[in-house]
Amino acid sequence: TSLSHSRRVLNKGEILWKCCAISWWGGVQMGPPDPILGVTEAFKRDTNPKKMNLGVGAYRDDQGKPYVLNCVRKAEAVIAEKKLDKEYLPIGGLGEFAKACAQLALGADNEVLKSGRNITVQTISGTGSLRIGANFLSRFHGGPRDVYLPKPSWGNHTPIFRDAGMQLKAYRYYDPSTCGFDFKGALEDISKIPEQSVIVLHACAHNPTGVDPRPEQWKEISDLVKKRNLLVFFDMAYQGFASGDIDRDAWAVRHFIEQGHNIVLSQSFAKNMGLYGERVGGFTVVCKDAEEAKRVESQLKILIRPIYSNPPMNGARIATTILNTPELRAMWLEEVHGMANRIIKMREQLVAGLKKEGSSHNWQHVIDQIGMFCFTGLKPEQVERLTKEFSVYMTKDGRISMAGVSSGNVGYLAHGIHAVTK
């Protein structure tokens, strides 16, 4: 036929492929950009020299640059000298890391550690820890499948628990009328939570609001949670970062344990050690006794193995070296204190700046809130204007990362916020 003169003969595979030009994935929808990390990506594309990235919670120094802690650099040098091999870690991670991680959260002389009734595993930072915890609860928690989050909570909490097979509910937390803690509302809601449900508590520096309960309020929450027989899941991503003092920031966690709650706890070293991309975290289950801890440990390993087999070494090594080497630990405590202080200073300067701009609003909450984030109280339309007109990038809920504010741009920020709120 004339075709064979002008076309080369297709092999069998090509014929089959060309006939099956339909894709498996034709029905896959475009996923929405991640609201938090998506902000950074939009920021990167902006060419305005005055642009500010107040989206993701990564610390910046007063020059607006990422800050690699000195204790981290020193720890890296120490580790390099050791010429370690790269053999797989155990499923639960570096043992020394898990121990130091638990000690940091609970205090070295905590009865839980002494009795060996905790199991702590190294995880892929805070997200990985929450996910392992959620999976563990989904598989082994005999109580209701409901997980109660504060309203609002970190955006990623919901999909993490949902993907693990849990259901999400909320308890009142943030009071938009005061930009503060809705203590009464929280207690009312918590008092109605069905027994044995899971309640998530932010240990300190609540994300996204920066609003933390005061110690007396924590005490009442603890009593009520005990009365309701709820399983407490603490998320502690900012130990040291909130007040600048690691023990003060861990007070709520330690109080609950002391009060007899057998908590589960997620820790992250992303912010307080600046180890973001190294993915350093821990997950702890406080058990009835050491025997139970062994059983729980064995099941955590069974959960971890089919996800990533075992965790990455580098960041855990750095964290362990810092925590267990006295001069490095002291250096770290100072640096974390320094980071927290710079943020506190920026809060004060922002409020001063807004006053100077002539803002008539009450901005006291900016100073009262704690940690990396500030819930400005800005509405979505105002946020959109701030981004479009001033190239200030933040999440739609009005949350700004104070770490992205510096003495060089705090005035510009005050100006922009005043412009969209006057």
Binding site: K12, G13, E14, L16, W17, C20, S23, W24, W25, G26, G27, V28, M30, G31, D34, L37, E41, A58, P66, V72, A80, D85, K86, E87, Y88, P90, I124, S125, G126, T127, G128, R131, F140, G142, G143, N156, P159, I160, D163, N229, L275, G277, E278, R279, V285, C287, E292, K294, R295, V296, S298, Q299, K301, R305, I307, Y308, S309, P312, N314, G315
Partner: protein, 411 residues
């Protein structure tokens, strides 16, 4: 307060790690660890590749580098260079911009993310009943990865013929012909774990033809590229052939072994899509899956690999390092077979040199394995799988003699 976890049962330990634990606890002077799949030098020690040491020094001294978050899908220069390694620099699929990747935590992580995606979007939405076929035998974690991703039906496909100690091609092809349409098949790209037995090129062609005709999903697991034959290209032949056949497919890559970066968890899920538009949508959904699993991947290992692959002299040094490892394994294979033949150990031992990669399926039965472990302090998997890297010029005689004893004394 009553414990909510009082009913949590004790889980059995993961076998391969328990084996190493038992080995570590053993005080016997002649003990040998032929269990977990990690490379060892002829001194029986872990080997940090010289090129890796070099690159890590570069990283530590580079003040421009920090510890900031990577993007959700990982380090871009890692993802692209890793996919190139699998598919080839001149891959038409890459030129057509329909290849994408997700940096993951090791090969396990890549399998996990791929499995989660398939469960959500393949063969309908959230179709947990789609059969997933894994080879009989296979790496023991394959089953758990897919089951935990939600697949209810993970089944074996015929692969290892214990009697002839080779590939059961007819059985394999038979399963491909009779399985439900759209079934997912996990294929080992090279150096099959645990048997060390790979299809020949002609056999791969037959496998591909059936899979294309019956519309089966191709999910390659590539954990040993370069490690099997010593040649990156040769070890990637099957993956590249399937790409040239036009499959939309996944390839889970591990850099644990070929870069010796075991504990830094360096992996890559390479996605070959029909076209750029499909790829874009796929990657956007991959991001959502990653975000609730680990948010973003660890940076250290990916940096090491990216710098190495993208710097010609370092790439060349790495290829040499890989060949060093592969050559030592080949030498141990040759020597073990020679010694068993010299001892007159009953049975045929050709499979030791015919098999490829880190592992050898010796054919020892579970009683013989128990003898090896308990009496001879030689630690190997109950399946009879040995890690060739555990053999050295110093212990190979002891191992050969012990195998001889096990085979002659224990039936």
């Amino acid at each position: 307060i009553m414990s909510v976890f009082s009913e949590v049962p004790q889980a059995a330990p993961v076998a391969v790690f328990k084996l190493t634990q038992d080995f570590n606890n053993d005080q016997h002077p002649q003990k040998v660890n032929l269990g977990v799949g990690a490379y060892r030098t002829d001194e029986g020690r872990p080997w940090v590749l010289p090129v890796v040491k070099k690159v890590e020094k570069l990283i530590v001294h580079d003040d421009r580098l920090n510890h900031e978050y990577l993007p959700i899908l990982g380090l871009p220069e890692f993802r692209s260079s890793a996919s190139k390694i699998a598919l080839g620099d001149d891959s038409p699929a890459i030129k057509e911009e329909r290849v994408g990747a997700v940096q993951c935590l090791g090969g396990t992580g890549a399998l996990k993310i791929g499995a989660e995606f398939l469960r959500r979007f393949y063969n309908g939405n959230n179709n947990t009943k789609t059969p997933v076929y894994v080879s009989a035998p296979t790496w023991e974690n394959h089953n758990a990865v897919f089951a935990n991703a939600g697949f209810e039906d993970v089944r074996p496909y015929k692969y290892w013929d214990a009697e002839k100690r080779g590939l059961d091609l007819n059985g394999f092809l038979g399963d491909l012909e009779s399985c439900p349409a759209h079934s997912i098949f996990v294929l080992h790209a090279c150096a099959h774990n645990p048997t060390g037995t790979d299809p020949t090129q002609e056999q791969w062609k037959k496998i591909a033809e059936v899979m294309m005709r019956r519309k089966l999903f191709v999910f390659f697991d590539s954990a040993y590229q370069g490690f099997a034959s010593g040649s990156l290209e040769k070890d990637a032949w099957a993956v590249r052939y399937f790409v040239s056949m036009g499959f939309e497919m996944f390839c889970a890559q591990s850099f644990s072994k070929n870069f010796g970066l075991y504990n830094e968890r360096v992996g890559n899920l390479t996605i070959v899509a029909r076209d750029g538009d499909n790829l874009k949508r796929i990657l956007s959904q991959m991001e959502k899956i990653v975000r609730t699993t680990w948010s973003n991947p660890p940076s250290q290992g990916a940096r090491v690999v990216a710098i190495t692959l993208n710097t010609p002299e370092l790439f060349s040094e790495w290829s040499d390092n890989v060949k060093t490892m592969a050559d030592r394994v080949l030498l141990m294979r040759a020597q073990l077979k020679a010694k068993l033949q010299a001892l007159g150990t009953p049975g045929t031992w050709d499979h030791i040199t015919q098999q490829i990669g880190m592992f050898s399926f010796t054919g020892l039965n579970s009683q013989q394995v128990e003898y090896m472990v308990k009496e001879k302090h030689i630690y190997l998997m109950a399946s009879g799988r040995i890690n060739m890297c555990g053999l050295t010029t110093k212990n190979i005689d002891y191992v050969a003699e012990s195998i001889h004893e096990a085979v002659t004394k224990v039936q």
